[in-house]
Amino acid sequence: MNIIFLLLFFSLLIAVVFLGAFLWSNRDGQFEDVEGPAMRMLRDEQNKSTTNS
């Protein structure tokens, strides 16, 4: 039966790791701007096209 407690401990550990990862990424500011990065991706394209032409 004790094996269940071990499994529970690990499953909780994994959940806590994910929560920690979420909080870390949030504190890091990854959710502050969810639209910008998609646009910034275009910026390099634009740079190339202007320098090439």
Binding site: M1, I4, F5, L8, L12, A15, L19, F22, L23, N26, R27, G29, F31, E32, D33, V34, E35, G36, M39, R40, L42, R43, Q46, T50
Partner: protein, 747 residues
């Protein structure tokens, strides 16, 4: 669909900018095209206005962080950000501005973080440059704590998931006989997660309830907090006495849904920035003549002499040290400039419309006053449900629970406390408080797709209740079809007219300012605005006039520019009524609406078939003050206006809606912004908001039904843990689903 010359995105007709014959979707694209297109590789040769010199003293309170000696970082709000080009242009700022090391734009929040070298570029120059390229910066005084909200949401979600998970085994028949240890492990871990959730995410409601009690206001937070505390306390009691696992799983679920609702409410609206009010123009510091340097407002001493540049805002009650011309429209709405003499008193909030003036501090501002100037008025009420209903609700819940305890004391004293507490728990108006935020949150998203950006869900309720529609004429009901004839103007004359229109906030002036473009402004020796007629000014002995043809005794163009009585240019700003307005009025009348027309202009004949809407209800020659007092006190009034001069009326009305053509940089204080090209959709929007309002009423009924049946069960002592555990999350989730799906379906 028309496409932007630069970014090739479809142009939102409301925000079209035309420059050099090309159409752009925003200033960012227009400027970026000019700068990146090779024509102007040097960047704009910056003839910058010194309106931002007061920024030289900002510090971390205004978003400036000094990382080290020559590495500073400034976080600012740029409401003008609109599309990808804006982002690209701003992030390449360093290529034109030496000293700027890095710029990072957060598109969703329209904020930018600029890293720069203070030795090479000053904050005021940065701000002036941003203004020049079309992004007048707003100083951030209160940092938004969106990050902590997201973190709370994450923790509450985590706690709810795990609490529910560890509560399941007991529902599925795990008993003390089967496995004593495991059962208690699960019970305690459920309790642990719920407690975390309550402490991290639920504290908001507890604190608010505490504040409400302290200030003796009834808010829905009180019964919610009571319910939460009762739920937690009773569950803990059950847990420690070994009777059952309590309702910890329900508690964590409730908290999660409550803060999710609160989060969505703020979220739907984040993208559209609103308030660029007088606060944004208030200086952070002024140049003190007494000390010969810039001084922060809080450090100003009584009797100190200081300067206010042109367009600057008077920060503190002062005495004039010379002649001045002041514009009090920000505070009083009075659009006429006031000519003041030496020794007269001037008040905070006035705009300097003349040249740089010198004043003496009459009353040194205290720190709280300075902060008060900056703090935007927070008029948003917390409650969706009116205070009287909340009060009745809370009081009756308390009375019922008290009576239940009292009565059960005689029937069965052992269960008396339990039943009293279960009434508190089950009556927690969680579903009730979820209904409106979720419904209006969904609705404001859908309305913004239609072209109406509501500031808060409360506005939707007001739009639904709207009975009287006050229409501002110029700019709202009319649109311009203009032809400009300024080719004969010499550069020096242009600079005079530029200075003339620069001081006026009349729509025609602002339009003309666009055609005259940026450039030097002459220093006028006299400037006078004649309401409904035009502007008269004097420069180097010559009289310049700009105004209606009738006023200047000529014919031809509607607005005429004249020097010494000779016509030198014209401006055919035919403000024609927008198309299909009659249908619009009729549709709103059909909805039970009444119309009133208010105009600051001289009386003009209205189209004949409008008379049935505006018979005896059209007002002309009204000052902003008069507009406001016409609206004041009217029940269910909506004011639709376009400009600065309507700000007061918009604030007086129950709901102010700004009808905007292409002004992204300045949107007056209003409850909502409506794109002018979507004006005809207004009746559909009203109908929709009415449907949502009745949906919310039905949701209230539904959740009250849940509450009542729950209370009934609790009163008779039939509220078993399983019933409560099912009933509580079910009521919340079903109400949320009901309003969200309903609000979408009603569209």
């Amino acid at each position: 669909m028309q496409k932007c010359q630069f970014c090739e995105q479809p142009i939102d007709a409301g925000f079209k900018i035309t420059r050099d014959g090309n159409d752009y979707c925003c200033t960012g694209c227009a400027t970026a095209d000019a700068m990146l297109g090779g024509s102007d590789q040097e960047g704009p040769s910056v003839k910058l206005i010194d309106r931002y010199s007061h920024l030289s003293l900002i510090d971390h309170k205004e978003g400036l962080d000094k990382i080290n000696g020559n590495h500073w970082q400034w976080t600012i709000q740029l409401p003008g950000i609109h599309c990808t080009s804006c982002l690209i242009l701003l992030e390449r700022m360093g290529e034109w501005l030496p000293g700027v090391r890095d710029v990072r734009v957060a598109f969703s929040t329209k904020q930018a973080v600029v890293q720069f070298d203070p030795e090479m570029i000053s904050v005021s120059r940065l701000a002036a440059w941003l203004d020049f390229v079309g992004y007048p910066p707003s100083i951030i005084t209160q940092k938004k704590k969106a990050t902590s909200e997201i973190a709370e949401l994450g923790i509450a979600g985590f706690a709810m998931g795990n609490a529910m998970m560890s509560a399941f085994p007991e529902y599925f028949g795990l008993s003390e006989e089967a496995n004593f240890q495991l059962l208690y492990f699960f019970r305690y871990s459920t309790a642990f997660f719920a407690t975390i959730s309550l402490m991290v995410a639920g504290k908001f409601y507890l604190i608010n309830a505490f504040k409400a009690v302290r200030y003796r206001q009834w808010s829905l937070d009180i019964p919610i907090a009571l319910g939460m505390l009762a739920l937690w306390g009773w569950s803990a009691h059950l847990l420690f006495t070994g009777q059952s696992g309590g309702y910890f799983d329900s508690l964590s679920g409730l908290i999660f849904f409550l803060i999710l609702g609160r989060f969505l409410q703020g979220r739907t609206y984040a993208a559209f920035s609103f308030e660029r009010t007088v606060d944004d123009f208030l200086p952070i510091s002024v140049f003190s003549l007494t000390r010969g340097e810039f001084v922060r407002l809080g450090d100003l001493k009584e009797g100190e002499e200081y300067q206010i540049p042109t367009e600057g805002i008077v920060p503190v009650k002062s005495t004039l040290m010379g002649k001045a011309e002041l514009d009090y429209s920000f505070i009083t709405g009075e659009s006429e400039l006031q000519q003041l003499d030496r020794d007269q008193t001037i008040f905070a909030g006035a705009r300097n419309a003349g040249s740089t003036l010198i004043a003496k501090v009459l009353q040194a501002p205290t720190q709280s006053e300075v902060e008060g100037l900056w703090k935007s008025k927070d008029r948003e009420t917390t409650g969706w449900v009116s205070e009287s209903i909340t009060a009745t609700f809370t009081i009756s819940v308390l009375i019922i629970s008290f009576l239940a305890t009292f009565v059960w004391w005689f029937i069965n004293p052992d269960r008396a406390i339990e039943i009293g507490v279960s009434v508190l728990i089950i009556a927690c108006p969680c579903a009730l408080s979820l209904a409106a935020p979720f419904a209006y949150g969904t609705a404001s998203k859908l309305l913004s797709d239609m072209g109406l950006y509501m500031k808060s869900g409360l506005g939707i309720e007001k739009l639904a209740a709207a009975q009287r529609f006050f229409w501002d004429k110029t700019g709202t009901l009319t649109e311009r079809a203009s032809s400009v004839n300024i080719t004969e103007l010499s550069e020096s004359n242009k600079s005079v007219f530029r200075a003339m229109v620069g001081r006026s906030s009349h729509p025609v002036s602002r339009l003309l300012a666009q055609y005259l473009q940026e450039g030097p402004k002459a220093t006028l020796s006299r400037w006078e605005e004649h309401v409904g007629k035009g502007i008269e000014a004097e420069f180097e002995g010559q009289t310049f006039a700009l105004g209606s043809a009738q006023w200047l005794n000529t014919t031809g163009d509607q607005t005429v520019m004249a020097i010494e009585g000779h016509v030198v240019g014209g401006f055919g700003s035919e403000f024609s009524y927008r198309a299909n307005l009659t249908e619009l009025f009729q549709a709103i009348s059909d909805l039970g609406g009444e119309h009133v027309l208010i105009s600051g202009d001289h009386p003009r004949e209205l189209p004949r078939n409008w008379s049935k809407y505006f018979e005896g209800k059209s007002h002309f020659n009204k000052s902003p003050q008069q507009k406001s007092s016409l609206v004041q006190g009217q029940k269910n009034a909506v004011f639709l206006g376009d400009g600065l001069n309507d700000v007061q009326a918009m604030e007086s009305a129950d709901l102010g809606i700004a009808v905007v053509e292409n002004s992204m940089s300045y949107i007056p204080k209003s409850g909502g912004v409506l794109l002018a090209n979507q004006l005809l959709e207004l009746p559909a929007m009203i109908r929709y908001s009415r449907r949502v309002r009745s949906l919310v009423k039905w949701a209230y009924m539904l959740s009250l039904l849940y509450n009542l049946s729950g209370v009934a069960l609790a009163l008779f002592g039939a509220l078993s843990p399983v019933v409560a555990a099912i009933l509580m999350p079910l009521s919340s989730i079903s109400v949320v689903l009901f309003v969200v799906l309903g609000a979408r379906a009603l569209r």
